[in-house]
């Protein structure tokens, strides 16, 4: 007979080990899935996890790791602050889109004027766009008690429609021969978020992601606001007695995650993507939720988890090209990862005990 006993303290060792165990379990389950799809499981796993880092064309894929990892880390850091306090912003995808639209809008408004201040202005506008979009659920929650999960999620669909409207209407390239999509910001020097070292994949978004990691680490460990976030998540009643202002906490957590998601969108639209198009968003806002949990809501953990998730994106692309693995298989793979993580998390808070229950 196996029973669960609650640990007096969450186990630190298991807390660190569960992400690794979850990744291993996902590899096994993913391998089975690939086998069912008629692919060699070992070859598929090797392609996804080994090829981008050490394979023949690794020099091409390694920079991609930064390009794909940066938005994931940037968004996940913001989400983790709220998740820690029990504030669930799951509409980062929408904030990401709005950040990109606001930022690109500012850039396009200046076209073809060249000046040093255009890109900084775009960054500010991008963060502002994400912030505004996140403030809607935040305001509605603090003012009316509306559920932030549902509102932030609904706003993703609204943002997607808004994106389509912009790509087909206001922001459409006037010299684009009628094709949807804006001017390519990569060809507009003042607005182009170029690699800082050519070919390294290291653009301003990567720098911002690293700054965000450090910022979040300091905030959570050395600052009163961070302490309040952790307190609210772990002991809501104690937080109330300690005088934590829930309204300000909600505004702060949602606002910060909105800004970071908006920035991620801006760096993407002005860099790797280059233009506002209908299919601009590729689900980073949702994958970042997995990244945040996989990183144990800890800034450094998120940095590592973001790297791993970027790896599965790139590896998935390679597997798609080389092994004809369907692109949705990698989405399933990422979803499974979260499953296993949540399941193995049991061992952090509970102890398995075997044998008959003893009489107390």
């Amino acid at each position: 007979m196996i029973r669960l006993e609650k640990r007096p303290q969450p186990s630190r060792a298991w807390s660190l080990a569960t992400p690794l165990v979850a990744v291993l379990a996902t590899m096994v389950a993913g391998g089975l899935l690939f086998a069912v799809l008629g692919k060699d499981p070992l070859e598929a796993i090797r392609t996804i996890f080994w090829e981008p880092l050490f394979g023949e064309f690794a020099f091409y894929y390694r920079p991609q790791l930064l390009v794909k990892g940066a938005p994931l880390v940037l968004i996940a850091i913001g989400l983790s602050l709220g998740f820690k306090a029990g504030i669930w912003n799951i509409g980062a995808e929408g904030q990401y889109i709005m950040g990109a639209l606001f930022g690109a809008g500012v850039g396009l408004a200046f076209y073809p004027h060249e000046a040093w201040y255009i890109f900084p202005l775009m960054v500010i506008a991008g963060g502002f766009g994400g912030w505004v979009w996140a403030m809607i659920p935040a305001y509605l929650k603090t003012r009316f008690g509306t559920n932030e999960i549902l509102v932030s999620l609904m706003l993703v669909y609204v943002a997607e429609q808004f994106l389509a409207s912009m790509a087909l209407g206001l922001m459409k390239n006037p010299e684009g021969f009628g094709f949807p999509g804006s001017r390519n910001l990569q060809q507009y020097e003042s607005a182009y978020n170029a690699d800082l070292i050519a070919g390294s994949g290291m653009h301003w978004g990567v720098v911002a992601a690293l700054i965000a990691v450090i910022f979040a680490y300091v905030l959570l460990n050395r600052h009163m606001v961070g302490y309040h976030i952790r307190l609210t998540g772990e002991a809501p009643r104690a937080a109330k007695f300690a005088g934590v202002n829930p309204t300000r906490l909600i505004l702060f957590c949602l606002g910060t995650s909105g800004i970071l998601a908006g920035l991620a969108g801006l760096f993407e639209v002005s860099g790797p993507s280059g233009q506002v198009s209908i299919d601009f968003n590729v689900g980073y806002g949702f994958t970042a939720i997995i990244v945040a949990f996989l990183g144990r809501l800890h800034p450094v953990g998120i940095l590592l988890a973001g790297g791993l998730m970027a790896l599965t994106y790139i590896g998935g692309d390679i597997a798609q090209a080389n092994l004809q693995l369907p692109s949705s298989a990698i989405q399933v793979f990422q979803g499974m990862l979260l499953f296993f993580l949540l399941a193995f998390d049991l061992l952090t808070n509970f102890r398995l005990s075997f044998g008959k229950p003893e009489v107390a």
């Binding site: 509605l140 509102v151 999620l153 706003l155 808004f162 949705s328 793979f333 990422q334 979803g335 499953f339």
Partner: protein, 306 residues
């Protein structure tokens, strides 16, 4: 723009069709939430139901068999949620999200060979005399069977919750799981049953989209209907009949905006397409002031320490 092209009778009839997926998903989730469990995986279970139902109907040629398969598929996926939240004590919000993310990916994987196929059609009800009545005929007696099943389901859930012992136990578990446990009710078992029911209902809702409402298979075709169903439960203050009202309201908004798009109103298509989501938010805001009817133990995990 030609608004006279919109036929009010057809509008109401198609409104009922548009509302039915929501009805299925929301009534299932209502039971789950009554048991004190918040399953945010509705969207994932719906889309799995959509592809399972579609594939089964195409392969077997029977839409009814498709619906059965969809219910089973939705319930199977919800088992994962039940394992995570009831045994592994995982956070319900995170577990529900994982279900949705996984479901969207997995359905796309399953459905790659079914894009662009037409499913077998479900027969419409044709009662001599009644179905031929003007106005009332097409609105009340001219639909497929599943539409009526959804309404019957609402009535059944209402009756069970209000009048039976099982309903009372379900509510007790949702209001105070410690007290229910102390009284000797199997909290975990009851919750798992509720989760399975919710999964099956969401699956049916998904299949209704892919088999009847659209009818074809495209990736991510549920397009947030699962999330609107979650909002609908709040809108309904956890009362079954209000789910019906709410679903028809949202169905109405969807159908009217589609009709306006077709009629070529001066508002751009994208802004019309936003409207169901915006109205959901608006309704949530209006109704969120009153939280008193929410099950007290909603979203809290139960672990019998002894």
């Amino acid at each position: 723009m030609d608004l006279s092209a919109i036929n009010p009778i057809l509008l109401i009839a198609s409104l009922m069709v548009a509302a039915t997926p929501l009805l299925f998903a929301a009534i299932g989730e209502l039971v789950v939430e009554k048991a004190g469990v918040l399953n945010l995986g509705v969207e994932g279970m719906m889309i799995i139901g959509a592809i399972a139902g579609f594939a089964t109907a195409v392969e077997s040629g029977s839409p009814l068999l498709g619906f059965v398969a969809a219910a089973v598929a939705g319930a199977v996926l919800s088992v994962l949620f039940a394992i995570l939240t009831q045994f592994a004590q995982a956070n319900q919000v995170a577990s529900g999200l994982s279900l949705t993310l996984f479901g969207l990916g997995f359905s796309a994987l399953l459905g790659q060979n079914y894009v662009g196929i037409k499913p077998p059609q479900m027969e419409k009800l044709d009662i001599p005399l009644l179905s031929d009545l003007p106005v009332v005929g097409p609105i009340l007696f001219g639909h497929d069977v599943m539409l009526y099943v959804a309404i019957v389901l609402i009535a059944a859930v209402w009756a069970v919750i209000k009048f039976t012992r099982a309903g009372l136990v379900l509510r007790a578990v949702g209001e105070n799981h410690d007290a229910a446990h102390a009284l000797g009710y199997k909290v975990v078992k009851i919750r798992i049953l509720a989760i399975l029911f919710g999964g099956a209902c969401a699956g049916l809702g998904g299949a209704y989209i892919s088999l009847i409402r659209v009818p074809q298979w495209t990736e991510g075709m549920t397009a947030g209907i699962g999330w609107i169903a979650l909002a609908l439960v709040v809108f309904a203050s956890w009362k079954p009949w209000r789910v019906l009202l709410g679903a028809y309201l949202f169905g109405g908004v969807t159908v009217v905006q589609l009709n306006l798009q077709a009629a070529g109103v001066a508002i751009p298509v994208e802004y019309l397409a936003m409207s169901p989501y915006l109205i959901t938010i608006l309704v949530l805001v209006i109704l969120s002031a009153d939280k008193s009817s929410a099950p007290a133990a909603l979203g809290r995990n139960f672990h019998a320490s002894r």
